[in-house]
Symmetry: C2
């Protein structure tokens, strides 16, 4: 992250972390409360909440207007990680160096924890019909769940189907995050942040493919942008997507955090 | 069901079934659409949607006002069945004589289908902040998920903890169904239907315990009302709960369907 982005992020992240830490504080029994809180408090980058807050500020509102939207998006993202890590899905034992929820609490509790986080995401934004509609569209069968379905069923085999998979699996919620932030900030027009969100969602995934390829030189594995088009094309594509995303919001007066976040999305993939 | 209740139910059930059948009709690919629709189209009794519609009518509104609330409650109930049936949870192969979702589509898809149904439930009522808040409270860690957690962790060992478990696991959503129906019907006061919903939720479970005991005479197994207090006490308690529920709404002018549904809840357990 650039120094400017770090400075902008610090108070916003602190607020998001405090709100996330307070989720489920009233839930009984304590063992269920702790299981629900465990996957939330991971030290993740919180890129989706930051995007929501940045989009709120690009709409001319203080970031505090979008705190509930930001927390809801992160809760929904976190539930998807808990369920994706399950033995029946990706069967991951570790996430960010810590045991996954099902390794700590067992598979049944991990399923319930994911369900609780998903439900809590909607509780958090219940007062705003537009936010509920956005989150449901981004997270459901027409969005993230549809992308995860395509992933586990190996439905991506060429560039078009791979782009569709990622648009749904990760792109839909990133698009939703910026739209929800803009809505919470009272934006009159969602067109520019929507284009930004769609491009940046794909840019993240394309950049991740470059990083994955640098760590693992093998040709085997599921389809990826690098496997389909090579590393150089993919790295250039990530930069192109980020530049186009920046262009989409460049004339909004408070867009600097969105611009910085777009650069951050691809800075690791050169 | 009494002839009056059957006659009342017929057009309402037809509408609910039609709405449920139309859910996910636009989802691609078709295989995901069909997997999402499979657990919805089960020929269940649809008791929760009927309770929502009855509560709407007890508020003096036509049942059509509560269709979205009724569908959302049934979608949430259905997701909970799909997840409860998973190998890591109750590991059930059959539900109402048909293979469970994970037997047909595999465990990973069944997890995703449950997630999609839960998300769709909120999409369905997004326009009403009060309905979203009610459903999230009824379905989340402070309601149904909390009850299921207590069940799988065997936290019920006496009458008080068993009542709490059932109040959360099945009672919270039945209470939510009547409250949501009353809210959708424009009820000014939710107190009477709330008392009704809490009592009827427990009555269903107590009556189920009697039926389970009649089918399986063994003393082993998890705690139940029959195992703790005997069959006669439990059957009488179901009737007492239903009568008290009926008393709670008796002076509402359009309460006849709620009264009939309360009788139906316990008619099998004498």
């Amino acid at each position: 992250m650039s120094p400017e982005l770090l400075e902008w992020s610090r108070p916003r992240l602190a607020r998001v972390e405090a709100e996330l830490a307070a989720c489920f504080a009233d839930v009984q029994p304590v063992a269920l409360r702790e299981a629900c809180q465990y996957p939330i408090l991971t030290g993740g980058k919180r890129i989706r909440p930051l995007l929501a807050l940045a989009a709120c500020e690009a709409a001319g509102a203080p970031f505090t207007e979008a705190i509930d939207a930001a927390v809801a998006v992160e809760l929904l993202h976190t539930y998807s990680l808990v369920h994706d890590d399950l033995p029946a899905m990706d069967d991951d034992d570790l996430r960010r160096g810590r045991p996954t929820a099902h390794k700590v609490y067992g598979e049944a509790v991990a399923i319930l924890v994911g369900d609780a986080l998903l439900t809590e995401a909607f509780a958090r934004i219940a007062s705003s019909p537009r936010l509920v509609a956005e989150l449901a569209l981004a997270g459901g069968a027409r969005g993230m769940v549809g992308g995860q379905y395509r992933d586990i069923q190996n439905l991506a085999h060429d560039l078009d189907s791979l782009v569709l998979l990622h648009r749904l699996k990760t792109g839909a919620l990133i698009r939703g995050a910026v739209r929800m932030g803009a809505i919470a900030g009272g934006a009159r027009d969602l067109e520019q942040v929507t284009v930004y969100g769609e491009l940046i969602g794909l840019a993240f995934q394309v950049a991740d493919d470059v990083l994955d390829a640098d760590q693992d030189a093998g040709d085997a594995g599921p389809p990826s942008f690098v496997r389909l088009h090579g590393r150089d094309w993919t790295a250039a594509e990530a930069q192109r997507l980020a530049r186009t995303a920046i262009d989409a919001v460049a004339d909004l007066s408070g867009a600097q955090p969105l611009v910085q976040l777009a650069r951050f999305a691809v800075e690791r993939a050169h």
